[in-house]
């Protein structure tokens, strides 16, 4: 069972976890990753705006999710990604992977978020405290994190 959603509104981690568990009754483990809008003293931001490519985003995450299911023998996975303007501390993305045992669930989550960050068409713009805006640059470290899983 795969679920991929892109939405402006917030989500509830408990509700999403229950929904996945309901359709994966044989799961002995559910791994999760929650991404949050980050602001810190070195680079304070007022907000992020997330833009995406409707259609391709869902297709690309779906492709990654099907690969994760096959590769790690997952029973199901769920991805929710928000778009639009988000304040520091707000949730951006939730990745859940259900499996019979913990290692597959944890590996599935790591694989999904690493590949999502390097191939799902989202772009972040930072609204900085000084009133300026700046598109976030892609990080080579993210490419390296995805590459360690091997090619899709």
């Amino acid at each position: 069972m795969l679920s991929v959603r892109v939405q402006a509104g917030d989500f509830d981690v408990g509700d999403e976890t229950k929904a996945l568990r309901d359709v994966c009754p044989e799961a002995g483990a559910v791994g999760s990753f929650l991404g949050v809008v980050r602001s810190n003293a070195a680079r304070p931001i007022l907000a992020l705006t997330l833009e995406h490519y409707p259609g391709m985003t869902e297709a690309e995450i779906g492709r990654i999710a099907r690969d994760a299911v096959e590769r790690f023998g997952l029973l199901g996975c769920s991805v929710v990604h928000r778009v639009g303007r988000l304040d520091p501390g707000e949730a951006i993305v939730l990745v859940l992977a259900a499996a019979a045992h913990r290692q597959a669930a944890l590996d599935g989550v790591g694989f999904l978020i690493d590949w999502l960050k390097t191939s799902a068409p989202f772009w972040k713009k930072e609204h900085l405290a000084d009133g300026t805006q700046a598109w976030v640059d892609a990080r080579e470290a993210d490419d390296a994190a995805a590459a360690k899983w091997g090619r899709l």
């Binding site: 991404g35 997330l50 833009e51 995406h52 490519y53 259609g55 391709m56 297709a59 690309e60 990604h81 951006i92 993305v93 978020i113 999502l116 960050k117 390097t118 191939s119 799902a120 068409p121 989202f122 772009w123 972040k124 713009k125 598109w135 976030v136 640059d137 892609a138 990080r139 993210d142």
Partner: protein, 87 residues
């Protein structure tokens, strides 16, 4: 009469060009992503600036990542964007 393609631009590419989506008549002889980029760069200063750093810009044809040599044809949806930064 030229058959057209749908062009989409995202993030700073969209801001530099000034539109997010347009119909574009595919010029004669343009049959690849690289050929299309070459034609777009001739459309004026905004396009030239947007496509200046060719190595940076990613492309998708019909919502699948594409390489410079990949084919483009009338009716295709072709998107250009910077490296992705979601998650």
């Amino acid at each position: 009469m030229h058959a057209s393609v749908t062009l989409l631009y995202f993030a700073w590419l969209r801001e530099k060009i000034g539109v997010g989506q347009e119909q574009y008549a595919l010029p004669d002889g343009v049959r690849s992503v690289a050929g299309l980029v070459g034609a777009l760069r001739q459309r004026g200063p905004a396009f030239a600036a947007a496509f200046e750093s060719k190595g940076v810009i990613r492309a998708a044809v019909n919502q699948v990542f594409a390489k410079p040599d990949d084919a483009v044809a009338p009716g295709d949806e072709i998107a250009f964007f910077p490296p992705v930064t979601g998650g």
